[in-house]
Amino acid sequence: MFPTIEKDGRTTICLEGEVDLAVSPRLRRQILDILYTGKGLTIQLTNVEYIDSSGVACLVEAYQYARKHDISFDLDGVNQAVMRVLKLAKLDGVLPIR
């Protein structure tokens, strides 16, 4: 489980290290469990060193769920390693980046 911060009714998940197939199934579960409560969610990416398509898929699924259920959702601290993959996938203009 990645650490979370609760503030003003909003949850921030602080991702760190390498977000790949070895961790993304647990990340997906963690993200969806928070969204199911209806709370706003921020994914903090500052300390992510690497993210693969399975990690990006978690972000896309979260965004789609949040949008469908009118839940506030965004990405914060998008660094070069994350932006590289988002741009390659042409998602940099789609996902809500702070």
Binding site: E18, D20, L21, A22, Y50, D52, S53, S54, V56, A57, C58, V60, E61, Q64, A81, R84, V85, K87, L88, A89, K90, L91, D92, V94
Partner: protein, 154 residues
């Protein structure tokens, strides 16, 4: 035509936990080739996606499958051959999906196709399994040469 040099082989099992080590070893191998840093990072993304596909779709969750990644280079290109010993896969899996639908799945093949210049399944001499060959063309400075490629950094 220049001769291909074998930069090395990475052997690993079909487990997601192996991917981190594969990325590290590949990075060290590509450092020897001294290709540009951004190019190296993108190649690692592509190869990681190809390895993931083998783990998820060829071995279908089996954790004991063998996977070999061979890296070759000459002065103009890097060649990666990813060998598995699982059931044959349909070459159509290499067709990237339409990202306009923004489905969470299918991103991996899209990234692979976006980064590599050539993807093809080769005939397997060992009678079973799959060999995916991926090529990346480089100029004299280790920069990618494909259609004005800039990896989305417009």
């Amino acid at each position: 035509m220049s001769e291909e040099e074998h930069l090395g082989r990475i052997r690993f099992k079909s487990r997601a936990e192996e991917l981190c080590g594969v990325r590290r070893k590949l990075k060290a191998m590509l450092r020897v080739k001294t290709c540009q840093c951004e190019t190296t990072e993108c190649i690692i993304i592509a190869i990681n996606e190809a390895c993931m596909n083998v783990i998820e779709h060829a071995y279908k969750g089996r954790c004991d499958g063998d996977i070999l990644l061979d890296v070759f280079c000459d002065d103009r290109k890097l060649v990666f051959r990813l060998t598995d010993f699982a059931d044959r896969v349909d070459p159509a899996v290499l067709r990237p999906k339409d990202l306009n639908n923004m489905e969470p799945g299918g991103l991996g093949v899209y990234l692979l196709d976006e980064i590599m210049d050539e993807l093809r399944f080769m005939p397997c001499s060992h009678g079973e399994g799959n060999i995916l060959e991926m090529k990346k063309c480089l100029d004299d400075n280790g920069q990618p040469v494909r259609h004005g490629e800039n990896y989305g950094n417009e």
